[in-house]
């Protein structure tokens, strides 16, 4: 009836747990090494790939740069042409805006029929016109012409500065025209 008491059972259970823990630690360590090696290999491979790609791109860039250097004569010509045309474009645009003397002269030549132009002075913003009209009718026609549509597009202000009747019944007059900007 007497039973045996196993006093070592607790120690055996503790030993089994410790063995299990050590086994898990070993396996865990091995898995960690494996995973770490895999990650390291992946990082290293990606770095290698990127380095190769960068080298390849750098080589291609060097080739292109050599090509561009070989074409620098053409580029110089293009830069000079572009610089000139850009400036000329701006110049012609500002010239068109300012209106040009040819238009003013053509207009005066057209409207001053029958008149004798004594003096014509044109600066960038105004025009001074001194003329001799054989009679009042011609002078009136000229002044009316100045007020018409074309003159208003060319001039911003028209002032009859002076008018003198001469001994031979002709009229010496002076008109100041402010050029539209």
């Amino acid at each position: 009836m007497s039973g045996e008491i196993d006093f070592l059972k607790g120690q055996q259970v503790g030993g089994a747990l410790k063995t299990k823990f050590l086994h898990s630690l070993k396996v865990g360590t091995l898995i960690l090494i494996l995973a770490y090696c895999l990650v390291s290999a992946a990082v290293f491979s990606y770095w290698l790939f990127l380095s190769n790609q960068t080298n390849k791109i750098n080589n291609e860039i060097a080739v292109k740069k050599t090509k561009i250097t070989a074409l620098k004569d053409i580029e110089s010509l293009q830069v000079v042409l572009k610089q000139r045309l850009f400036s000329l474009n701006k110049f012609f645009a500002s010239k068109k805006e300012a209106g040009n003397f040819n238009n003013l002269l053509a207009f005066i030549n057209q409207t001053a029929t029958g008149l004798t132009i004594k003096e014509l002075k044109i600066t960038e913003d105004k025009m001074n016109f001194t003329g001799l009209a054989p009679n009042m009718m011609i002078l009136e026609n000229f002044l009316n012409d100045l007020k018409n549509n074309e003159s208003s597009s060319l001039f911003s202000k028209i002032t009859l500065s002076s008018i003198d009747r001469q001994e031979d019944s002709s009229y010496l007059f002076s008109v100041l025209l402010e050029i539209k900007k």
Partner: protein, 238 residues
């Protein structure tokens, strides 16, 4: 003893992982980030350079040379006083006008450094640096008017900036004209190698077509400096 070995092994592995991470993996990750950035920038640069090479390959050198030659005749690099004076005289003679007087109020520096635009202080701010020439012409009015028209379509680029016409005697007028002639120094540098080639716009093409109709008179002693071959020897090195 075996237990201690296991602990030591795990501890050694852990320390190794930490050390390798610190001294090998971390620098590699930093290098990857940098390489990735460089690669993106490199690809962008390569695309720009490829585009530039394609653009430059598409340009014809003889055609460009002719265009630049014409552009430089119309808009010289420097104040070309002899050409300006001889051109004005030739245009006047073409119109059967007598040139009574010709003067340049302020010549200033004949050549300014490449890329530097120097304008006279009393001149209003303009798109281009200029030189003013005054001349007195005698002849019929129609011829004087024809002179104005021709002078603005003759190389080098000129603009009548002031004029006065007075009747000298029956059928003959005397005209005092102020002509402004323009020049433009060459660009200082061609720019960075990676910089894209700026194409000529359609509006600028139109301007060039207008230039093609400009009349060009004889040669000047300064012409050598304004030919495209001179540009080749200029400052355009990378």
């Amino acid at each position: 003893m075996a237990n201690n070995k296991s602990f030591l092994f795990s501890g050694f592995v852990l320390i190794l992982v930490v050390l390798v991470s610190l001294f090998w993996l971390r620098p590699k990750v930093v290098a990857i980030v940098k390489a990735n950035r460089d690669l993106t920038a490199g690809r962008k640069t390569l695309a720009e350079l490829t585009k530039k090479v394609t653009t430059l390959d598409g340009l014809s050198k003889p055609e460009l040379t002719d265009k630049v030659d014409l552009a430089l005749k119309i808009l010289p690099v420097e104040k070309d006083v002899p050409t300006v004076l001889s051109t004005l005289k030739k245009v006047a003679l073409n119109n059967e006008l007598i040139v009574n007087e010709m003067s340049i109020p302020e010549v200033g520096e004949i050549a300014s450094g490449s890329g530097e635009t120097k304008t006279s202080k009393n001149v209003k701010e303009e798109a281009l640096p200029s030189l003013s020439v005054k001349l007195t012409l005698i002849g019929p009015r129609e011829k004087i008017i024809s002179f104005f028209k021709q002078v603005e379509t003759t190389a080098p680029l000129m603009k009548v900036s002031g004029l006065s016409i007075s009747q000298k005697n029956e059928g003959t007028d005397e005209s005092l004209i102020e002509v402004r002639t323009y020049f433009l120094p060459l660009p200082k540098t061609i720019g960075k190698l990676e910089q894209a080639v700026v194409p000529v716009t359609s509006q600028e093409e139109k301007i060039f077509n207008e230039l093609a109709s400009f009349k060009i008179f004889g040669k000047s002693v300064f012409e050598e400096t304004s030919s495209p071959s001179a540009i080749k020897l200029d400052l355009f090195g990378y």
